[in-house]
Symmetry: C2
């Protein structure tokens, strides 16, 4: 299913670049080193993984053959299994995690070597967009900005004084949802966040960027010249089929571990921000999986076979087991997340689901690597 807009004939080709190398502990015990959040069917993505859902969302606008997936080498088979329609060459596997700048530099140089005017839409693989049409409309605007030489950042209209995100302060307003970027702000305290939301002058930075390949390549040359040179060398090898695992490893070994925000965005002038309000969520915890999931009349979110007796506002998440489904029953409980993966079970008060990290820390302390 494609859609008018950026696929209209005549414009430069548009690539989707999906950042799928993330790891994390906030969805333990479902998320593990080898099955991080983006590979899980959490929230409204079920039964699809978030990665799959992200790709399908973008494929309404981008040809699947114009998709790149940046992932960790240890996640490559699982990522390929989620997106079987993609060629092997669509997956850029990082042998080492070096944050977002090195892999975006690589992808940008790679696409630039094919068509310097091509537009890249860089998106995380583990987010949710409730209103997909609105999401794609925002991307259309961002693509238009990109085609004017800007790095367009999709900024999310904040819905609460969130202290866990970075904010973008808006500068001069342009047409519609477009504005200049005045500055980036690190995670604020609650009072500051509250004033940001009230002012209407701040957006959340959700890590979504749209730009022409040449624009990003030149930005890297300006702000991170060594990384730019190495990335362009790598891309050059790729187009001449001389790329080896060894060369990729060397690139990542020598690359600094740095985010695209620090490496480029905070130093770059040719930025715009496009405000988006499309029911975005970063699915930051089991709490948000419950918030976004389908619920029954008692606001329980589970599988059809789960049994709820006098229980309200709970989430059940169970990995499919061997030998038939597991019966899970809740009796007289409220506001819990119950996560069963066969080898581990978590019961957490919904509002405290960010504290799952303490369990992960305890498992590390115990050396229980198989559970991490």
């Amino acid at each position: 299913m494609t859609r008018e807009g950026s696929l209209a004939p005549g414009g430069p080709p548009v690539y989707a670049v999906i950042l799928a190398g993330g790891s994390g502990t906030r969805f333990w015990p479902a998320s593990r080193r080898l099955s991080p959040k983006q590979l899980l069917p959490i929230g409204p993505a079920a039964p699809q993984s978030l990665l799959r859902r992200t790709a399908e969302r973008l494929w309404r606008m981008v040809e699947p053959s114009h998709t790149l997936v940046l992932t960790g080498r240890h996640l490559l088979p699982q990522s390929q299994a989620e997106l079987p329609e993609l060629a092997e060459s669509a997956f850029l596997a990082e042998p080492l995690a070096k944050n977002t700048a090195p892999c975006i530099a690589w992808a940008s140089a790679l696409v630039a070597a094919r068509d310097a005017n091509a537009v890249l839409i860089v998106v995380p693989s583990d987010q949710h967009a409730e209103n997909e049409d609105a999401f794609l409309a925002v991307l259309d605007v961002a693509i238009a900005e990109a085609n004017q030489g800007k790095i367009a950042i999709v900024g999310i209209v904040p819905t609460r004084p969130e202290t866990g995100y970075g904010y973008i302060e808006l500068g001069r307003r342009g047409d519609g949802p477009v504005a200049e970027v005045r500055r980036f702000v690190e995670k604020p305290n609650w009072d500051t966040a509250e004033s940001y939301v009230r002012s209407g002058n701040f957006l959340w930075n959700a890590g979504m960027f749209v730009f022409q390949a040449r624009t990003m390549v030149e930005a890297f040359r300006r702000h991170a010249p060594e990384l730019a040179r190495a990335a362009e060398e790598l891309a050059q090898l790729d187009s001449s089929s001389g790329l080896t695992e060894e060369r990729i490893l060397t690139f990542f070994e020598q690359a600094p571990s740095i985010s695209i925000d620090y490496a480029v965005m905070e130093k770059e002038n040719a930025l715009s921000v496009v405000a988006g309000d499309f029911g975005w969520s970063d699915l930051g915890s089991w709490e948000s999986a419950w918030e976004l999931g389908a619920k029954d009349s008692a606001e329980n979110c589970g599988r059809p076979e789960d049994i709820f007796v006098d229980s309200k506002r709970n989430l059940i998440y169970a990995a499919p087991g061997e030998g038939g489904h597991k019966t899970i029953a809740l009796v007289g409980v409220e506001d819990l997340c119950v996560i069963d993966t066969g080898d581990a079970l978590l019961v957490v008060r919904r509002e405290q689901s960010q504290d799952v990290r303490f369990v992960v820390e305890e498992l590390k302390r115990r050396g229980e690597l198989s559970k991490l």
Copy 2:
């Protein structure tokens, strides 16, 4: 480990008769048709089963070779496995559940055929006695009563206005903890139960009886003559080794399904009651398993490997799994029972643990027999 008292030379032999045929749903999902409560290591019995714990408690007073275990035929292998020191002939297996009267009639006739003066201590297999010395001291008194021709009922000094038990109203007091029985009372309502406890004139009927074999055989002859005759025939066959499965089946098919209380106790005059105060519990729900279990400083009751983060007064019960232990973590929760058996998981508010029956009803409705 034996103990003075009823093992003193000269007295008639004493038999322990353990009622281990019970089934129930209050410990679902741990308790199932083939692993009822008495076979589980719940409460302070862990890691022993309640059946094993009951036998060991009695073996401080009774020779193991003088033990009879009355159980269901479908529970025979599991029951034998719990008590491997007992001969095969120690187990009387009921092919049909017919409540307590038929199997006690059988056991009484069986022992009477060996020694009519022998004393039988009949106890359920799924109860807890916190103070075992006090428990055995009560049995000593009951044995003395039995040797005077009485059926001595161990009555529990009530600690709360419990509406789930039957009560025994005391008649004329004898020496020490002994009294006559004025009447049996069915489960009372709360106000009545409260007045009973306040009066000091009522004890809980816990289903523990002590009597000489001849006394019970004669009582059955008076109050249930057909059952008495059939039981004595069965016992006679047993002593001549002519007992077949077929004969046992016929006995139970023809026996009425009736409790020892209805069949004998409520009609019998030669009763005494011996008051016991030894930390008795019938372990009626997961709540009581938590109450009696060993707890950490936050009053959590679990396995050493369980992880509790900011959680209080919870019970974790997990069946040992294949391939290593399951990691169970609770975060920010209070007053829950979390029961994991591999194929089923229950999370229940502790105080509502009697409502587990609704889950069992739902599983029956669905026809999920493998989970029952």
